[in-house]
């Protein structure tokens, strides 16, 4: 179909008539404030504040409507005249004449902040601010919970009497009862008896229980190492089961010749020193305390190597580090900063 051509009459009119834009008005701002007050009032005090907001909105809405319909009601329009100075388009001016009378907008100095430049900057700036306001909490929520507020769990392994002197037990326990079976961990525990230690400052001698508590997380890539030796069914000794604040705790007697990892063949001696395979250090250990005659596990720490055995062992102790990370030697400089641990 042929597009409709404007008739000569309407074309003539449309060229010479003033544009049908309503004059600038501030009433919509008052109307918007009224709406905001209504919405705020709905939360705070619907009867009073919302009524005030509704009144504001109605008053300004009527004023706005009267303004917008002034022309239709036949009132004369007051249009603000152009106040900017018009210049003659002369030499050195790039702007072409707007019409044949030679009147043009003055050329814009590049350093002038024009309306379009201001709006461009405002759009980019506000967009950046809004983007940042959204990104910061979202990125923080995605990343920080893994690092902050790591809880230390105390694990109650039951009375000390369950651990006969110099006997090894494969001990399994739940670290966080709220989390359930997924937090079940294993440690190899031996009671080294009571040792007397002398504080070098106070010269006082104290009697303290000594335990060797080795984590079963392989120091290669974290697989569960196994005790190399007979356990309860071969030793004909029962598995001791206790129910503590941490749920079900199992003590499986074992006579280990060392520990071995099923994944990649790492081997350790009974103190957790690496003897063969890919691990880079000794097995991690648990801190412990004795509370009311009960053995309580605390957090883990990493060990580069152990000299000696049992209560006399000299443990080269380091901050808890992930499997496969060197603690000593030049390779330790690859891991200068550890994430927060409990």
């Amino acid at each position: 179909m042929e597009p409709e051509q404007p008739s000569p009459d309407t074309e003539h009119e449309s060229l010479h008539e003033e544009p049908h834009l309503p004059p600038p008005t501030l009433w919509p701002i008052g109307f918007a404030i009224g709406i905001v007050v209504v919405l705020v009032g709905l939360v705070i005090n619907p009867e009073l504040i919302s009524s005030i907001g509704a009144a504001i909105a109605i008053v300004f809405g009527v004023l706005w409507a009267r303004d917008a319909t002034a022309e239709l009601r036949g009132e004369s329009l007051v249009v603000e005249p152009e106040r900017r100075q018009m210049k003659e388009a002369g030499d050195g001016m790039t702007a072409p004449p707007a019409d044949q009378q030679g009147v043009a907008l003055p050329p814009v100095d590049p350093s002038t902040v024009t309306r379009s430049r201001f709006l461009e900057g405002a759009t980019l700036g506000l967009g950046g601010v809004i983007g940042g306001l959204i990104t910061v909490p979202v990125a923080g929520f995605a990343l920080l919970p893994s690092f902050l507020g790591q809880k230390q769990h105390k694990v109650d392994l039951g009375p000390l009497s369950s651990f006969p002197l110099n006997k090894w037990f494969i001990t399994t326990f739940i670290v966080d009862p709220a989390e359930g079976e997924v937090s079940r961990r294993t440690a190899f525990i031996r009671n080294n008896g009571v040792v007397s230690t002398t504080d070098p400052k106070t010269k006082q001698t104290t009697q303290q229980p000594s335990f060797t508590i080795i984590s079963n997380h392989c120091a290669h890539l974290g697989c569960p190492v196994q005790a190399n030796g007979p356990t309860s069914d071969i030793l004909k000794q029962p598995i001791v089961v206790e129910h503590t604040a941490n749920g079900r705790v199992e003590l499986n007697p074992v006579v280990p010749a060392g520990y071995g990892c099923p994944c990649h063949g790492g081997q350790y001696d009974t103190e957790g020193n690496r003897t063969a395979g890919p691990p880079v250090r000794a097995l991690d250990r648990f801190d412990f305390e004795v509370d009311n005659g009960r053995l309580i596990l605390l957090s883990t720490y990493s060990v580069s190597h152990v000299v000696g055995t049992g209560a006399q062992a000299k443990i080269h102790k380091y901050q808890e580090s992930g499997p496969g990370e060197h603690l000593d030697g030049p390779e330790q400089w690859f891991y200068p900063l550890q994430p927060p641990h409990h």
């Binding site: 079976e181 937090s183 499997p323 690859f334």
Partner: protein
């Protein structure tokens, strides 16, 4: 536009004409408002070298494999439950039980899960074959270096899909493979320990590890892959398909004499039609 006849059209011709108008109407409606029909036509009927071969369909095959993963994955997500907690009735983890339910009890669940599981390997294998083709044909050279880089990113994302998806069945294999995989990441110098702790969602692997792997596996990484595939295809369309290395066609030259008589018309090029036809018959590019 209606075909003009020199004689009065027969009833059959009129019926055919009405049918054509009926089919073209919705297409023209969409084309007029979006230009999409012309765009799709441009994509499907763009010029490609005359001597391309089947090796150059490996990219489309990899794309198809990804679409299979996306569709089967969406359906599996309707039945899978990423919870590490223990079902009090059975004493088994909820996530593992929901996988058993999909495999053993839901109608055709075994099929959809099998498609997703084996399709994962197919996707990776096809990406590698496609990569080999691009390498051996020298198709990564100027001006297509950027598309090689994007392709490598898609491959890495595909591997990450494999890694995160492997944990979801929540059985012994899944658990220990993820322990080893995360700790392997942890041995990377400097930021490795931080990366590992982020992947675990804490110091120890836990139920949070499962939920975050699930979110990464079905939302974050697939979104990134879709965005990268879009870029990849855009560059393929913009830069065109390369000839094989043994091609006798001069690079970048259009055999004009062959085009003139329509000899190349066929699957990859429309049969020339009279001008002024509807959108479906317009030349590639649609609008002039």
């Amino acid at each position: 536009m209606a075909t003009t006849y020199r004689r009065t059209p027969t009833k059959a011709e009129l019926r055919r004409q009405r049918m054509e108008e009926l089919i073209n109407f919705p297409l023209d409606w969409v084309e007029e408002r979006s230009g999409l029909v012309g765009g799709v036509r441009y994509f499907l009927f763009r010029n490609v070298p005359s001597d391309i071969n089947w090796m150059q369909t490996l990219g489309s095959a990899a794309l198809t494999a990804f679409l299979v993963q996306a569709i089967t994955g969406v359906i599996l997500a309707m039945y899978y439950d990423p919870s590490a907690s223990t079902d009090p009735h059975t004493g088994k983890p909820v996530a593992w039980e929901s996988i058993v339910n999909i495999t053993d009890h839901l109608t055709m669940g075994w099929l959809v899960r099998g498609m997703h599981k084996w399709g994962a390997s197919v996707f990776i294998i096809l990406m590698f074959l496609h990569m080999g083709r691009v390498f051996l044909f020298g198709a990564y050279k100027y001006p297509r270096e950027l598309n090689w880089i994007i392709g490598v990113l898609i491959l890495v994302m595909g591997m990450m899909e494999g890694f995160t998806g492997y944990l979801l069945p929540w059985d012994q294999t899944a658990y220990w493979a993820s322990v080893v995989g995360i700790n392997l990441n942890g041995t990377a110098p400097f930021l490795g320990p931080w990366l590992a702790q982020f992947l675990r969602g804490g110091q120890e692997i836990s139920g949070e590890t499962l939920t975050r792997f699930y979110s990464l596996h079905m939302l974050v990484i697939p979104g990134a892959i879709i965005a990268l595939i879009t870029l990849h295809l855009y560059l393929v369309i913009r830069l065109g398909v390369t000839s094989p290395p043994w091609s006798k066609d001069a690079a970048g030259m259009e055999p004009e004499e062959a085009e003139a008589d329509g000899r190349r018309a066929g699957l990859t090029r429309p049969v020339p039609r009279p001008a002024g036809a509807s959108a479906m018959q317009a030349e590639p590019g649609g609008r002039e």
